[in-house]
């Protein structure tokens, strides 16, 4: 566990981040936890520090992509081999982390998937169809069956950490979908393992068909550009 860094992007999560960090330490006693406060206006940094996590505070909001790249950079500079991303809203169960790490032995990027048999989390309607279409395309690209491509519960091995420290995308949806394309096009091995997903503390998944259409549109655009971008964009070790 000591060569693994748990990165938790948090934006205005003062209510939950402390409990999530404490739960991680409880279930994984040797874990190293870095909370990246993504320019929160509340006491997220303080809450995370009080719970015992290291906290990197971004001066303004960069989105999940920017927060995660900070985590990858930190991991690379401090010599961690693996990075595990966990949401700060308590949606992901830290008890699944060993499952992800086990799979990481034979892969570079492991996704914790919601629809792979475990748990009672379900998305219905147009949004589900949109996610299925995306999963189909991305499964073909990565050469492995992926059912939950937008999962924020993922583990990255050394090659993925080096790649993402430089090229983790900042755009909306880029952090989940585009990151998968970047990994696949760079020859990394992607796998998924089923995990239990808990219901979010606040907020209901949207079933609005227009929002789902907009979601699919933006996701398709992000996908399209991820595919047609020159491969040299993703070279590691050459700062742009």
């Amino acid at each position: 566990m000591t060569d693994t860094l748990i990165v938790m992007p948090a934006f205005n999560e003062e209510a939950s981040v402390g409990d999530v960090v404490r739960e991680v330490f409880e279930k994984l006693p040797n874990a190293h936890v870095l909370v990246v406060d993504d320019g929160s206006s509340d006491a997220t940094t303080q809450a995370a520090q009080d719970a015992g996590a290291k906290v990197a505070t971004l001066p303004f909001n960069l989105g999940v992509g920017g927060a995660m790249r900070t985590g990858f950079r930190y991991a690379l500079e401090c010599g961690y081999h693996n990075v595990i991303q966990i949401d700060a809203d308590g949606q992901h169960d830290p008890a699944s982390v060993p499952d992800l790490l086990r799979e990481l032995a034979s892969a570079d990027l492991v996704l914790g998937a919601r629809f792979a048999g475990h748990g009672d989390y379900e998305v219905r309607g147009p949004r589900r169809w949109a996610m299925r279409v995306l999963a189909g395309i991305l499964s073909r690209t990565s050469g492995t069956l992926l059912t939950d491509t937008t999962s924020g519960f993922r583990a990255s091995g050394p090659r993925a950490v080096a790649l993402f420290a430089e090229h983790y995308p900042a755009e909306y949806l880029g952090d989940t979908i585009e990151a998968l394309v970047i990994a696949s096009r760079s020859g990394l091995v992607v796998r998924q393992v089923p995990v239990v997903m808990r219901v979010r503390a606040g907020g209901v998944p949207s079933h609005n068909p227009f929002k789902s259409a907009a979601y699919l549109g933006r996701a398709s655009l992000a996908l399209l550009f991820a595919y047609i971008r020159p491969k040299s964009t993703y070279l590691v070790g050459k700062r742009a």
Binding site: V36, K54, V55, A56, T57, L58, P59, F60, L62, G66, R69, T70, R73, Y74, E77, A170, A240
Partner: protein, 122 residues
Amino acid sequence: MTLSSYIFGVVSAVLVLIVVIELLRRRHLRERHAIWWFIAGLFALVAGLFPTTLAWAASLVGIEVPINLIFFASIAILFLVCLQHSSELTQLEAKTRTLAERVAILELQVKGQDARSGDDER
């Protein structure tokens, strides 16, 4: 064309060029941003001084009313400058983002070192 419209055209073009050169001279404008405005000013000056060149250029590309060439060229230059600005804005955003990430990491490391050196003193 009347004499006054001729003078108006030439003076406008010269004014544009003076403003661009003055901004360049005071380093308020970088060369790569100035180049488009400079080209636009030069074209305006040539077209103002020698209106026949405009009619010749228009007939060359098959435009019947020469003024339409002016409109086309103006819009094209404005469009290109706008595109250049969007592109530079994107690059600036990427740089700002990288800086913000570095600052967050450095801040964390500096704080960690402060805490450690504090322990040594005790």
